[in-house]
């Protein structure tokens, strides 16, 4: 499996992380190294093995449909980068 600059650019877009032009070659190389490590998995015989998502195969619990949390809007908004009238502000999305 080879990984190229264009792949990294696509991943950066998917992950919403701007990649610095000066370090992209280095980033590509280090990710290629990690993928070479994980490629060792391909040699494992996993025929018929059920994938394991949880160490003890636990399932999600259900709970009673009751209100357990009170409103914390003021406290949560106090630590936000930008808010107004109880709303979170982001750059304009629609002109």
């Amino acid at each position: 499996m080879t990984i190229e600059r264009a792949d990294i650019e696509k991943l950066a877009e998917l992950a919403r992380i701007e990649i610095n032009e000066a370090t992209i070659a280095e980033t590509t190389q280090s990710i290629a190294d990690v993928l070479a490590l994980v490629d060792q998995l391909q040699a494992a015989d996993t025929e018929g093995v059920e994938p394991m998502a949880h160490p003890t195969d636990a399932i999600q619990r259900l709970r009673a449909d009751e209100v357990t949390e009170i409103n914390h809007r003021e406290e949560f908004q106090a630590i936000a980068p930008a808010t107004e009238a109880g709303l979170y502000l982001v750059p304009k999305v629609i002109d």
């Binding site: 990984i3 792949d7 990294i8 991943l11 950066a12 998917l14 992950a15 919403r16 992380i17 701007e18 990649i19 610095n20 980033t27 280090s30 990710i31 190294d33 990690v34 993928l35 070479a36 490590l37 994980v38 490629d39 060792q40 998995l41 391909q42 494992a44 996993t46 093995v49 059920e50 994938p51 394991m52 998502a53 949880h54 160490p55 003890t56 636990a58 999600q60 619990r61 709970r63 914390h72 406290e75 949560f76 106090a78 630590i79 936000a80 980068p81 930008a82 979170y88 982001v90 750059p91 304009k92 999305v93």
Partner: protein, 494 residues
């Protein structure tokens, strides 16, 4: 009370001293705060010191005790890894992204310690978002290993480990996703335990890889870890993966004899790549346990070599999902003057995350992206079951499994810095237990060139009591856990 020895007390001794009225919580808290102020310039084990509210908590604890209703940790000073949210105290997770983040609530673990009367000295340094094995990825600079300040303390809970080794806290909380409690415990010569997955609540603990993350205690002795785990472990309805199972008193079995104990020795943990000095120290420890009546049984964990590759699919994949919440909208860092929403996300995340975190997010995005899911994520989840089955088979024959915690003692700063894969192999003996969800611990068992070595003890599911029993019996017969590095005295005390 002679000040100079207060910081040499274990948690058990501190509790006894407070009960007997030998010293107050305010006295011991002030003593620790003074030590942190003077000595931590050298180690950088704390990110935030909780000076004002620690003293208020200590005063409240002393008053509670005077009234005769002291809970288990009443007035005992501890530190929290900076991954646990603390109401009103900055919680950075070692990242620029959360440099300004002051949570409006406590993690369940923090709440449990508060209910038990503990005093919070501060928040300990760590690899950024718990991604690292050397503490070099922290935004706040690396932690220095108190045994040799040119070497790393291990990671990611390197701050908690170094603070305990330097006697800047008698115990601290920590987390372990692939070895982040056990490896720094080994490198700093202290004791640490990663419980069974689901035993300690993850609520309010900043998520890295949710199916692997588990909080646990770090202290100088197994007895202290048992006391801390009594407080930390709980069923928490707020954590959907928390296990609803009674929490035993982990101190009950500490004094049981090891006569008849069957210890599994995995062949794969003693193969190439293991430092000969580390190997010798571990073998000496096993011989000591044999002397106490334990039997060594050679076992095989045939899928050991696949643990690191499987982990580096599963952990980055889960991290890429978990860390998508850091987008500059609700809390944490936001870039200056974003020109649109996309620009805000892209630059906020580029500026807020360090190199290792970005690398893992990108690897995770790759493994989860269209066309690669089956080849990577599904395959890794299948291998994960094979790894678990290795342990299930082994525990049919043995009570505990033992080996080295890490392949070699503490290494020098920068020595693995530009090779992520070399760093990842540091966790070769610890990662498999996270994948299987099993409990694991590390206890000091010797030195190589004056650098501590850790003995790893892996237990069956929910068998923490037995692991603590084994470590405690080992510590009754040895003094490795009592050794301290040089240079821990305050200037005026010299």
């Amino acid at each position: 009370m002679n000040d100079s020895i207060m910081h040499n007390k274990t948690i058990a001794e501190i509790i006894a001293g407070l009960e007997a009225g030998e010293f107050t919580s305010v006295e011991i808290t002030q003593h620790y705060l003074k030590r942190i102020k003077q000595l931590d310039r050298k180690y950088n084990s704390y990110i935030t010191v909780n000076e004002t509210s620690a003293l208020a908590q200590a005063e409240a604890a002393d008053q509670r005790r005077a009234k005769g209703n002291a809970p288990a940790f009443c007035g005992v000073p501890i530190a929290h890894k900076d991954i646990f949210c603390t109401n009103g105290i900055r919680t950075s997770c070692g990242s620029k992204m959360l440099d300004n983040f002051v949570p409006p609530y406590d993690a369940t673990v923090v709440e449990n310690f508060a209910n038990a009367g503990a005093v919070v000295l501060g928040k300990t340094n760590m690899d950024e978002f718990a991604m690292g094995s050397s503490n070099e990825t922290s935004f706040y600079g690396p932690v220095k290993n108190p045994w040799n300040i040119n070497t790393v303390p291990g990671g990611s809970s390197g701050g908690s480990a170094a603070a305990i080794a330097a006697h800047l806290a008698p115990g601290a909380t920590a987390t372990d996703t692939g070895g982040s409690i056990r490896q720094p415990a080994a490198l700093c010569g202290i004791t640490g335990l990663k419980p069974t997955y689901g035993r300690v609540s993850r609520w309010g603990m900043i998520a890295f890889a949710s199916s692997l993350d588990q909080g646990g205690p770090m202290a100088r002795t197994a007895e202290d870890c048992a006391l801390m785990l009594n407080v930390m472990a709980s069923f928490d309805p707020k954590d959907s993966t928390s296990i609803d199972r009674e929490v035993p008193d982990y101190t009950t079995n500490l004094n049981q004899s090891l006569n008849g104990l069957k210890i599994g020795i995995p062949r794969e943990y003693f193969e190439e790549g293991l430092n000969p000095g580390t190997e010798q120290a571990v073998k000496n420890a096993l011989a000591e346990l044999e002397k106490q009546g334990a039997t060594l049984v050679s076992i095989s964990l045939p899928h050991t070599k696949l643990a690191v590759p499987a982990y580096y699919v599963i952990a980055p994949a889960e991290a890429s999902a978990n860390l998508s919440r850091f987008d500059g909208v609700r809390y944490g860092h936001r870039c200056e003057d974003p020109k649109d929403l996309r620009d805000m996300y892209m630059r906020t995340r580029a500026e807020g995350f360090g190199e290792e975190v970005k690398r893992r997010i990108l690897v995770g995005a790759y493994c989860l992206s269209a066309g690669y899911y089956d080849a990577y994520y599904r395959k890794a989840q299948q291998v994960r079951r094979l790894i678990k089955q290795d342990f299930v088979d082994a525990f049919e024959k043995v009570d505990v499994i033992m080996g080295p915690t890490s392949p070699s003692p503490a290494f020098e700063f920068g020595s693995k810095g530009d090779d992520p894969v070399a760093m990842y192999l540091e966790d070769i003996y610890t990662i498999a237990t996270n994948l299987a969800g099993l409990p694991g611990m590390s206890a000091p068992c010797g030195f190589v060139d004056n650098k501590p070595v850790g003995l790893q003890i892996i237990g069956n599911y929910f068998d923490e009591s037995r692991m603590l029993n084994v470590a405690h019996q080992f510590q009754l017969a040895t003094d490795w856990h009592k050794r301290s590095p040089e240079g821990l005295e305050l200037e005026e005390a010299k």
